[in-house]
């Protein structure tokens, strides 16, 4: 799975005095390129960095942005922390659950959407806020959420 990433992994390694420091950035690179960290990927990373596999596992299992389970094509991450809560994020959550017919933490049967709630995304002045994959969607209301979901579904049909 790491084929083609060797050059980038070498650059990562050159930035730190220890190989252990390269684990986190290599996991991020592997996930960005290949998707969730499944199968032998942790073992492969351990081999390429020449570190014990347990070191890789302890990182992959500690940080929430590393996924060891499949996630949908569109990963919706809704902030439910205080500023968003005060701006009715729970209504947005109910709307998403209704519309996608899943509970928070689940993925739709077609594998398109995963819905997660996350802690503060640092965009509190534009609450309520969510991310879809790498993009922020701010000042959410029922119409914006509906428009966005329709647009994403359309993207898939095309």
């Amino acid at each position: 799975m790491l084929t083609g990433l060797e050059e980038q992994i070498d650059i990562i390694k050159s930035r730190y005095p220890t190989r252990r420091s390269a684990i986190m950035p290599t996991l991020a690179l592997a996930q960005a390129s290949e998707g969730p960290l499944r199968g032998n990927i942790l073992k492969e990373i351990a081999e390429v960095l020449d570190v014990p596999e347990i070191w890789v596992f302890e990182i992959a299992s500690f940080y929430t942005m590393f996924h060891t389970e499949p996630v949908g094509k569109f990963h919706i991450k809704l902030c439910t922390n205080v500023s968003c809560l005060l701006c009715e994020a729970s209504q947005i959550r109910e709307q998403l659950e209704d519309r996608l017919q899943i509970s928070t933490g689940e993925t739709t049967a077609d594998g398109l959407f995963t819905l997660s709630t996350v802690e503060c995304l640092g965009s509190c002045d534009t609450a309520p806020v969510m991310m879809v994959n790498r993009d922020y969607h701010e000042n959410l209301n029922a119409k914006r959420v509906e428009d966005l979901l329709s647009q994403l579904m359309l993207q898939v049909k095309d």
């Binding site: 005095p17 252990r20 205080v82 500023s83 809560l85 005060l86 503060c120 640092g122 509190c124 534009t126």
Partner: protein, 420 residues
């Protein structure tokens, strides 16, 4: 009239580009420092300016730098804490997205002062645009000879690398941040030893916040007197305030340190959405909430500490009279429970227990003894873990109980949340 410096150029199109930064005098402070100051002079100057760290703890920056031992034979590291994750805070994100060179110039000034050849910027992984903009800014700085070997044809050489976080609030705690760069689970360590003596890879290390770095070029450019002339003597300078919650004009404001919390919320941010403020959290959810009657307090480290709260990250969250304090306390405790790294039992177990009790109260199934139980839990958590996460959880809940006990009682008496 207060002149903004930190947010001044943010509305200029392309403000994140080096061309825009240099057109506004960018990197001139670095040139001035490299040509005219010894590292020792520079540390004294920052001490004189009395710059207090903008990350939350408010430790004097120059003093922190002066703790770095000389001639240990080990490399010295500089880290930029850009893991902004304190709920209610979005200032560092704005600085990195819209004016990243200000932070980079500040880092170079700091690196020169402490004799560091390598820096790491620890940016939280969710900040996709910040990451992109900072990486781009670093490339531009390298291309112009402002990073790398022999910067501006002097003997000073410096490399900066970005290290990405991956979703762990605790990485904002400095020893956890260092553990994370070293490739471990981000679990705080006991201090001492302090990072200045034994930090990253057991080498002398200084960790400063994005906004702290952003202040440095301005102190060099305008001078110590200018900086000390803004805000209170004990913690002077310009300050970024993040306004959110049930407020009419949420957003990022640059105003003098020490401005009154009431003035900030009512005059600058337009007041509460409903027209009536119930309480304000002044420094991110770690900071105890302040009821409306006590809002005439200065937004600086000492004044807020005296008022039983803290400036923290200056994430100001407004609760109006439609907001439920129990719900806010529950949401806050859920956050600390989720983000506890699990190392210390009082924080790991205490937060979980308090969270369960708060959920029961908010659902209307609370019992009379629950309020005393929460107070008991706060006492058990506070002061009994390695880092400040447990303290913050207990402290913020304690303030909600102290100032709004009646609201907790109403949830029990009415058997439901009176607000929802």
């Amino acid at each position: 009239m207060f002149d903004k410096v930190l947010l001044k150029n943010m509305e200029t199109p392309g403000s994140h580009l080096i061309t825009s930064y240099e057109a506004h005098g960018g990197y001139e402070s670095l040139a001035k420092v490299l040509k005219g100051y010894s590292p020792g002079d520079l540390i004294e100057l920052v001490k004189d300016a009395n710059l207090k760290g903008r990350g939350g703890a408010g430790f004097p920056t120059g003093l922190k730098w002066s703790f770095v031992p000389k001639d240990t034979g080990k490399p010295v590291y500089l880290c930029c804490n850009a893991d902004e994750s304190e709920p209610g805070t979005f200032k560092d994100r704005a600085l990195m997205e819209k004016d990243p060179h200000m932070m980079i110039e500040g880092m170079l000034i700091a690196a020169y002062a402490i004799g560091a050849e390598i820096s790491y910027i620890y940016i939280r992984g969710e900040y996709t645009l910040s990451i992109e903009r900072v990486e781009e800014a670093l490339k531009q700085a390298y291309a112009k000879g402002l990073l790398g070997k022999n910067i501006l044809s002097t003997d000073f050489s410096h490399d900066i690398y970005v290290h990405l976080g991956a979703g762990a609030y605790i990485c904002g705690e400095e020893t956890a941040l260092l553990e994370s760069i070293e490739g471990r689970r981000a679990q705080p360590k006991l201090k001492p030893p302090f990072p200045a003596v034994a930090g990253l890879y057991e080498c002398p290390t200084v960790i400063n916040n994005v906004e702290t770095f952003a202040c440095l070029p301005h102190i060099i450019e305008r001078g110590v007197e200018w900086f000390r002339g803004i805000g209170p003597d004990a913690s002077p300078g310009p300050k970024l305030y993040c306004l959110s919650g049930r407020v009419r004009k949420p957003g990022l404001y640059e105003l003098p340190m020490g401005i009154s919390l009431r003035e900030l919320v009512e005059n600058h941010a337009g007041g509460a959405r409903s027209g009536t403020i119930k309480a304000v959290i002044p420094g991110g959810v770690s900071a105890p909430m302040i009821p409306e009657c006590d809002l005439d307090v200065g937004m600086d480290f000492d004044s807020l500490a005296a008022a039983g709260s803290m400036l923290g990250s200056a994430g100001v969250i407004v609760l109006d009279d439609a907001a439920c304090v129990v719900r806010v306390a529950m949401c806050t405790m859920d956050f600390f429970n989720e983000e506890s790294c699990g190392k210390c039992t009082p924080c790991r177990e205490g937060n979980d227990w308090a969270s369960k009790v708060l959920h029961r109260l908010e659902a209307g199934a609370g019992r009379r003894e629950d309020i005393d139980q929460l107070e008991f839990l706060c006492e058990g958590i506070f002061g009994n873990s390695f880092c400040a996460l447990g303290d913050a959880a207990a402290w913020s809940l304690g303030a909600a109980l102290k100032h709004f006990r009646g609201e907790f009682e109403r949830h029990i008496d009415e058997g439901k949340c009176p607000f929802h």
